[in-house]
């Protein structure tokens, strides 16, 4: 695992609930802006964003909520925020780590809805590979947390899980050998097995066999993974262009993603948003991609981090560029941008 480096958190998107995004001036933040924490800047090491609120966890073990849900508490190391439930990992002395689920509206006062003692990972030759410190996969990597009952779900011991991602109706798992498994509902092709059928148990993505994956991410109804060589594979629902494939509305309206917005980067200089060109002629479109498809961002770029919202995707390259694509809104309009836009470029981060 890389040594954790201190950096600055940036946020963008809808913040009509007063979440601590950017300057807090607008209800929508179109370009990344530094996050303003309530109570001044603190040493944030984890961020989990739900729709109407955000949970920040500091190195000092404090969890702070911002937005439609408020409150703060000490003694936690991780948080997973969703609209229905806020799940926290409480640090324990020795083996006393505990998982807690709170109603977001509780402001972290009173008692959690439920709690579960977490078993420490056993020492042994497998320890490094099963290490996964991030929720929803628990440190011992033997179970994961879902925002819906049953909240605590054990994984089959044969799966040496490294990372788990939960979509609206599906789950993706990355194991120690770089293989990807998926299960859940497949109605939008998000499982990647080539059909729309559901899978009740984790099933290996055969299309990716032989390629070692480094990262996985799940959106509402789509899935992305990055190979160790920096290639992007993406599949699932494309109705908002979240797969960077042509969408029906763009094909019909001939809309392109031309248009530039500027953002500010660290030294205050303007960064223009550049869109990959797309000819406006009505084109065939893809609504569902049930198999992994390789996505070329730009020549020579290597993707190292990926993250998904419910209907959009974001990728960070090795050279510090952030690309986003998928669903966006503007006051009065909804359109999909299926061409990856270079949203921001950080130098030296």
């Amino acid at each position: 695992m890389d040594e954790e480096r201190r950096g600055t958190w940036f946020g963008f998107g809808f913040c009509g609930f007063g979440q601590a995004l950017g300057s807090g001036l607008g209800r929508q933040v179109h370009s990344p802006e530094p996050v303003r924490m309530p109570g001044g800047s603190v040493d944030v090491c984890r961020v989990s964003a739900s729709w109407s609120y955000t949970a920040f966890v500091t190195r000092g073990g404090r969890v702070q909520l911002s937005g439609a849900a408020g409150g703060a508490a000490d003694g936690y190391t991780d948080a997973c925020a969703s609209e229905e439930l806020l799940v926290l990992l409480r640090a324990g002395p020795g083996a006393g780590a505990e998982l807690q689920a709170w109603a977001p509206g509780s402001a972290l006062r009173g008692e959690p809805l439920w709690s579960h003692a977490v078993q420490e990972a056993e020492h042994g030759p497998n320890r490094d590979e099963t290490q996964a410190g991030l929720l929803p996969l628990l440190p011992c990597a033997r179970a994961y947390v879902s925002p819906r009952p049953s909240f605590y779900r054990p994984l089959a011991p044969t799966l040496r899980a490294r990372r788990l991602e939960l979509g609206a109706e599906h789950a993706l798992l990355l194991d120690a050998a770089g293989q990807v498994f998926s299960w859940g509902s497949g109605r939008h092709g998000q499982l990647g097995h080539g059909t729309l059928e559901p899978e009740p148990e984790p099933r290996l993505l055969e299309a990716l066999q032989g390629l070692r994956m480094a990262e996985v991410a799940a959106g509402g109804w789509h899935s992305v993974c990055l190979s160790e060589t920096g290639d992007i594979y993406i599949w699932g629902w494309n109705e908002s262009g979240q797969l960077a494939l042509p969408t029906k509305s763009l094909a019909e309206d001939g809309k392109t993603t031309a248009g530039e917005a500027s953002g500010l980067d660290e030294d205050g200089s303007e960064v223009k948003r550049v869109s990959a060109g797309e000819d406006g002629a009505p084109a065939p479109f893809i609504a569902v991609q049930p198999f992994p498809a390789l996505l070329d961002l730009s020549p020579g770029s290597e993707a190292v981090k990926v993250s998904c919202g419910s209907r959009h995707t974001a990728v960070l390259t090795r050279t510090g560029e952030l690309y986003t694509w998928g669903w966006e809104t503007d006051p009065g309009f909804i359109y999909g941008s299926s061409s990856p836009s270079l949203t921001h470029s950080w130098c030296g981060i």
Binding site: S52, E83, H188, T195, L196, E239, P331
Partner: protein
């Protein structure tokens, strides 16, 4: 088109007088954050802040739309559909603020349509009333055909180009019979797998008179896949609205099959003029009963499958790649020679589509049909 301010006043007259009345009673499923936004939307609307109200409505619509798209339709909590309808209502009215233009009114009507089709009744079926007012005010007097979207390239889509009614007389037509006996139907059509139009079988259904009166029977709910308007296939509609079952009856001929009556799948198909179902086949026998409007239907035997160029993926192998009324004969040369039967199916008639028989459908009018899948 009557002036924008006349429209605005007509709409205001439909809405509750006070901000307090412009609200929904919602259960626990809807999160507090959404309730906050609903209140905010109502306040912005009453405060005359239309643009901000529109923004808030879009957020409400986006969020509730995702709830509507999560899991099977039958499990979507009705409160989410009501939230969605509320967003559509305020959006539609805000879009009509003077000085409105035809495009805004059309967009408002589209918002109403979405609310009617995906949402649930709120504030005394207000969306129906708003839609009626908007329709009257549109310039051409014609309801714009809503733009649909599709889940898969092979599923339902609408065509807006003005295609003429095909001259069925020059094509080989599907034979018609008036109330054949069970044995006759079985021997000449079911067993050999031949299509036929049955007259006198469904023309007495209560729905043939009732449903033609109103455009959108309230309580419609879309199915799992196409969640957009344009063409709605409504699975288990009749389970959700049992009253509608009294308006139709399962054709007697279904008893010739092997399955139980409970296993018969009844779907309702509602769509505007121009809606097309691309050429495809289904695994079961099908009785397609036409209730309202007419449909142009073309049928190809399963023996002609190769000349229909089905997609070779597992997902779409029961869907043809060919656009039947506008085929690319360079890409699909054999299609031109494939023999077919065609017909215009009118209200009261039932078409028997044998299992695996390829069929293509285009609605010639605003159309409502009921299909029975049986084995």
């Amino acid at each position: 088109m009557a002036g924008p301010s006349a429209l605005w006043e007509a709409l205001q007259a439909l809405l509750p007088r006070t901000k307090e009345e412009l609200k929904l009673e919602l259960g626990e499923k809807v999160e507090g954050s959404v309730v906050m936004l609903l209140q905010e939307a109502a306040e912005l609307f009453h405060g005359g802040q239309r643009r901000k109200c529109l923004q808030t409505c879009e957020v409400l619509l986006d969020y509730s739309w995702e709830k509507l798209n999560t899991g099977p339709w039958q499990h979507v909590d009705k409160d989410w559909r009501r939230v969605y309808a509320f967003g559509c209502l305020l959006k539609a009215v805000c879009l009509c603020e003077p000085p409105g233009d035809a495009a805004s009114v059309a967009a408002a009507l589209k918002a109403c349509d979405m609310g009617l089709l995906m949402g649930a009744a709120i504030l005394g079926d207000i969306l129906l009333k708003v839609a009626a007012v908007l329709q009257k005010h549109l310039l051409s007097g014609k309801r714009p055909a809503p733009g649909p979207s599709q889940e898969l390239p092979g599923t339902k889509k609408a065509r807006n180009d003005h295609m003429p009614i095909p001259d069925v007389m020059t094509e080989r037509t599907v034979p018609r019979l008036h109330c054949p006996s069970l044995q006759y139907f079985k021997k000449h059509f079911l067993v050999p797998g031949r299509p036929v139009i049955l007259e006198g079988v469904a023309n007495h259904w209560p729905c043939m008179k009732k449903w033609r009166a109103s455009c959108v029977p309230s309580g419609f709910s879309p199915v799992e896949q196409p969640k957009d308007i344009g063409y709605l296939a409504q699975h288990q509609l009749f389970d959700q609205i049992p009253e509608l079952k009294q308006d139709i009856s399962i054709p007697d001929y279904c008893c010739l099959g092997d399955g139980e009556e409970e296993e018969i799948t009844i779907n309702a198909w509602f769509g505007p003029q121009g809606t097309v179902s691309p050429l495809h086949q289904d695994p079961q026998q099908n009785f397609l009963a036409q209730v309202m409007g007419r449909k142009y239907i073309r049928l190809y035997s399963p023996q002609e499958s190769e000349a229909l160029y089905p997609h070779d993926t597992h997902l779409l192998h029961n869907t043809s790649q060919v656009d039947v009324e506008n085929p690319d004969l360079e890409k699909f040369p054999r299609f031109a020679e494939a023999p077919f039967l065609s017909c215009v199916l009118s209200p009261g008639e039932v078409l028997f589509i044998p299992a695996k028989h390829w069929h293509y459908v285009r609605a010639l009018d605003l159309s409502f049909s009921v299909s029975f899948w049986w084995s």
